[in-house]
């Protein structure tokens, strides 16, 4: 495909998914710097997969791109050892100040970035986008019971990882 054509399609899909990416990445990062970095990775992911985003499975790819971008941004922040100082979590500047347990909120975001891909998608769809199980089932190509199971497993993994994390810290 010609470069100019790719750019044209990229602009179309960017416009189409900008709202989705903004909402999901903000909820997943809660920190402006981290958000900006994740957004850049997401744009790069869209650029590299622009043909797929113009196709039938675009809905599935955009989730993958968003969660991969979020994981990369968090990985850059956290580093290889998985350690991060509380000052770096972004608690102070995050809008999660408005909710109870802002420290736990930051830890939850950080932990979602480490979840297996399917579980990460399940958490995002169910809690951050507040979708019905029927809608989740369609997007994950499984039954409604399967969607419930995925969300339940993801939540259990998340709690397990959080427990480990809080024990270490």
């Amino acid at each position: 495909m010609k470069y100019s054509k790719r750019v044209e399609i990229f602009e179309q899909v960017r416009a189409k998914y900008a709202g989705f990416l903004t909402s999901v990445l903000w909820k997943l990062t809660g920190d402006k710097e981290l958000f900006a970095e994740a957004m850049q990775y997401a744009l790069l992911g869209m650029w590299r997969n622009v043909e797929k985003l113009n196709g039938k499975k675009a809905g599935a790819y955009i989730y993958r791109i968003a969660l991969t971008a979020n994981s990369k941004a968090w990985r850059n922040r956290i580093g290889k050892d998985g350690q991060i100082s509380k000052a770096q979590i972004g608690v102070e500047s995050s809008s999660s100040d408005k909710i109870e347990g802002s420290e736990l909120a930051a830890l939850i975001r950080r932990t979602i970035a480490k979840l297996p891909a399917k579980q990460g998608r399940a958490i995002v769809m169910r809690y951050l986008q507040q979708q019905s199980y029927q809608s989740i089932a369609e997007k994950l190509s499984c039954s409604e019971a399967g969607a419930r199971s995925n969300v339940s497993k993801a939540l259990a993994t998340l709690k397990g990882k959080l427990a480990n994390l809080t024990e270490r810290e």
């Binding site: 903004t22 900006a36 850049q40 109870e100 939850i108 939540l155 709690k159």
Partner: protein, 440 residues
């Protein structure tokens, strides 16, 4: 910390609105990204113009400056954010997929063309002209061969070699070869379009690359491999037939009703230091960043195929491999060492030894596999000797010598960065020796 309220917090995160200043970040980031895409295009074009007119070094400086400008423009745009956009920007240039045809001219009239599809990182889907397909996963050292007519599949797992931490990126290599090592030698019309022509000349390989000035990507690549000038340096190669072990050639009936026989396998070990046959390969009909489905690179068994699995040991045993090869030879030749080291690659001598050692009353396929493994080990030992010849320090004195005498040097060579020599003696022991202690 109480995890009981995790769901509650998740729900609260889900109901959060996006602040207005975050929306501004999005607008700014998206706008700059789009602008960068357009600038990337200009940089590529500019790079080619500069290459044609000034030295490569000066052109490289221009590109670096241009990229830095891009980084600075972007990096300073986000309030307080020191993001790693340099990495992101560079990745915009990288192609993720490529398809091309590859025509082989092996020095005879048996030229043939394969169709290749590659996807980053490390996947190759290759279709041979007679139908078989091979899918490589270089990240795992594994490949799947498919014979669609016979509905037969073979998975081969390569073992014994540590892969580097960074996987060799073929797409990066082939797309930047002309920039890294090439010399611009002119322009030619190819398929109705003007292309810049670059030459990369190495001791035993000459590569000519035709590059589209607009995209800065190759449209045609011609690689010519030359054998070593020393005719005593040979390419370890041998084939083995299952029929030698009492097995019938495996036969399949294809869709056209013809009987196809698969009777054996061969091994060739070569490298780019001149241990290679003369061969010309032309890559053409490139399509960069083709829209390829990931399923093309799946190593999952297609429905209806019968599967065979094999392991292929690519361990480089170095000098131990040579000792192993000599041990096999002396075992099968009444204790006598080969008259010349290249005898280890002579099929008329080695094949009968393999049959003598492994052909028995057992399962022919198992015997064949054992013999095939032994043949591979002999060829690896021979390869080690050829490499020593390339380095110019190889000596062989095994002609007429019988296994057993610990004082008789059979062969010796000087390892790189060593003052002395390594020596294999007549009892197949190995040690170090000074040059004055060795035969003239």
């Amino acid at each position: 910390m109480n995890n009981g309220n995790v769901e509650e917090i998740l729900n609260k995160l889900g109901s959060e609105d996006v602040p207005e200043d975050v929306r501004k970040i999005v607008e700014e980031t998206s706008g700059k990204f789009s602008k960068t895409l357009m600038q990337s295009r200009k940089i590529v074009l500019w790079e080619n113009i500069m290459k044609a007119r000034i030295t490569k070094l000066a052109a490289a400086a221009v590109i670096i400056i241009a990229v830095l400008i891009g980084i600075n423009q972007f990096g300073s745009s986000i309030d307080g954010a020191s993001v790693a956009f340099g990495d992101v920007l560079q990745q915009i240039y990288k192609a993720r997929t490529v398809t091309y045809k590859e025509t082989f001219f092996p020095g005879t009239d048996r030229e043939f063309t394969v169709e290749d599809m590659r996807m980053e990182p490390g996947y190759l889907h290759s279709v041979r002209p007679d139908g078989p397909i091979t899918i490589w996963d270089f990240t795992r050292g594994r490949d799947l061969q498919l014979w669609p007519e016979q509905k037969k599949a073979l998975i081969t797992q390569r073992v014994g070699r540590n892969r580097g931490k960074r996987l060799f990126n073929y797409l990066d290599w082939i797309s930047k070869l002309h920039e890294e090592d090439g010399e611009l030698i002119g322009q030619e019309e190819i398929d109705g379009q003007i292309a810049d022509v670059f030459l990369v000349q190495k001791e035993y390989k000459r590569t000519t690359i035709w590059v589209d000035p607009e995209t800065n990507l190759p449209v045609r690549v011609e690689m010519v491999d030359f054998p070593h000038l020393d005719k005593n340096i040979i390419v370890p190669h041998m084939s083995l037939s299952i029929g030698d072990f009492g097995g019938g050639a495996k036969a399949y009936t294809n869709e056209g009703g013809d009987t196809v026989r698969v009777s054996g396998r061969s091994i060739t070990i070569s490298n780019t230091d001149g241990i290679q046959e003369e061969m010309t390969i032309v890559m053409h009909d490139f399509v960069w960043d083709a829209d390829l489905d990931e399923s093309l690179f799946s190593l999952e068994l297609p429905e209806g195929y019968t599967l065979e699995e094999k392991r292929f040991d690519v361990t480089d045993r170095g000098e131990d491999g040579l000792i192993g090869a000599l041990a096999f030879w002396t075992e099968m030749s009444d204790g006598m060492f080969p008259s010349a080291i290249n005898d280890l690659g002579d099929p008329d001598k080695v094949r009968p030894m393999l049959v003598n050692k492994f052909d028995g009353d057992g399962d022919p396929e198992e015997e064949f596999e054992q013999a095939y493994h032994a043949m591979h080990e002999v060829l690896k030992g021979l390869m080690f000797a050829q490499q020593c010849k390339v380095e110019g320090t190889w000596h062989y004195a095994g002609d007429g010598v019988r296994l057993g005498d610990a004082d008789v040097p059979i062969c010796w060579w000087k390892p790189e960065d060593s003052d002395g020599y390594r020596v294999i003696y007549g009892d197949l022991s190995i040690g170090d020796a000074a040059v004055e202690d060795l035969p003239e």
